[in-house]
Amino acid sequence: MYPITTAHYIALSAALLLIGTVGVLTRRNIVIILMSIELILNAVNINLVAFSQALHNLNGQVFAIFVITDAVAEAAVGLGILIALFRNKETVLADEVDLLKW
């Protein structure tokens, strides 16, 4: 239980990743799917910082900065797509966007 080791951070990160995956796989609302992707990226960041701390090496934290940059770009583009989708199809539910479905 205590002291807190790297394994604790990894367990927390794995739990957060699984919760985010459940959100991506089960929700219908695209806004909440995008939020779940943010949860997954945060789980990755917890892992990177924990290993950076355990190995006494700052490369992990630099990688976390790049992951945050990608998360920003992903959120901006994803929400732009969502606005374009809502304008054309009047829906934000992922399974109602089935133009390519046979």
Partner: protein, 175 residues
């Protein structure tokens, strides 16, 4: 007695509870605004974990960029698109049982291996940076970022430029 280790453990469990409770509430709420607010709680927990691991720069980035930037963007979009109709409908799709079962299987594997081999991560205990350098976390990070990772840094700036242009093009009615 409150030793430093005990304080660290208590803070870790508080922040972990914040992260996990916020995440679970994020993916289960019907109202997207509530989801966004619980996501903020979760992100603040992650920020606290960064602070606990002496990653002060990432802590500031998490607060300013994630909670201040991305979450405001999310709330703007939630108010821009009309979510009232979506809130009345079914919130989970038909494959939720399959999804839950497969995620539970992956989770069982991950936690089983962590329980078996978690001790292998004891390369060094976190929380005690030995680099007794006079420089703080931000200065050290800047050194690594601008010396070893200068090219990826510039590529990331181009990626952000592309994302800005792309999202404007997609959200605009007529170009």
């Amino acid at each position: 007695m409150l030793t430093p280790e005990l304080t660290q453990a208590i803070s870790f469990y508080i922040f972990a509870a914040m992260v996990l409770a916020g995440a679970i509430l994020t993916i289960t709420r019907r109202n997207a605004v509530h989801s966004a607010l619980f996501l903020i709680v979760s992100l603040m927990g992650v920020a606290g974990l960064y602070l606990l691991q002496q990653a002060e720069f990432l802590f500031a980035v998490q607060i300013v960029l994630y909670i201040g930037g991305i979450m405001v963007l999310f709330l703007f979009v939630i108010m821009l698109v009309n979510l009232d109709q979506a809130a009345k409908e079914k919130q989970f799709n038909g494959q939720w049982i399959v999804a839950l079962v497969s995620v539970a299987a992956v989770g069982l594997q991950v936690f089983w291996f962590l329980g078996k081999g978690g001790a292998a991560f004891k390369i060094a205990q976190p929380g005690l940076l030995p680099a007794a350098s006079a420089l703080g976390n931000t200065e050290q990070l800047a050194d690594v970022l601008f010396k070893e990772y200068l090219l990826p840094f510039e590529i990331a700036s181009i990626l952000l430029l592309v994302a800005v242009v792309g999202s404007v093009v997609m959200a605009k009615k007529r170009i």
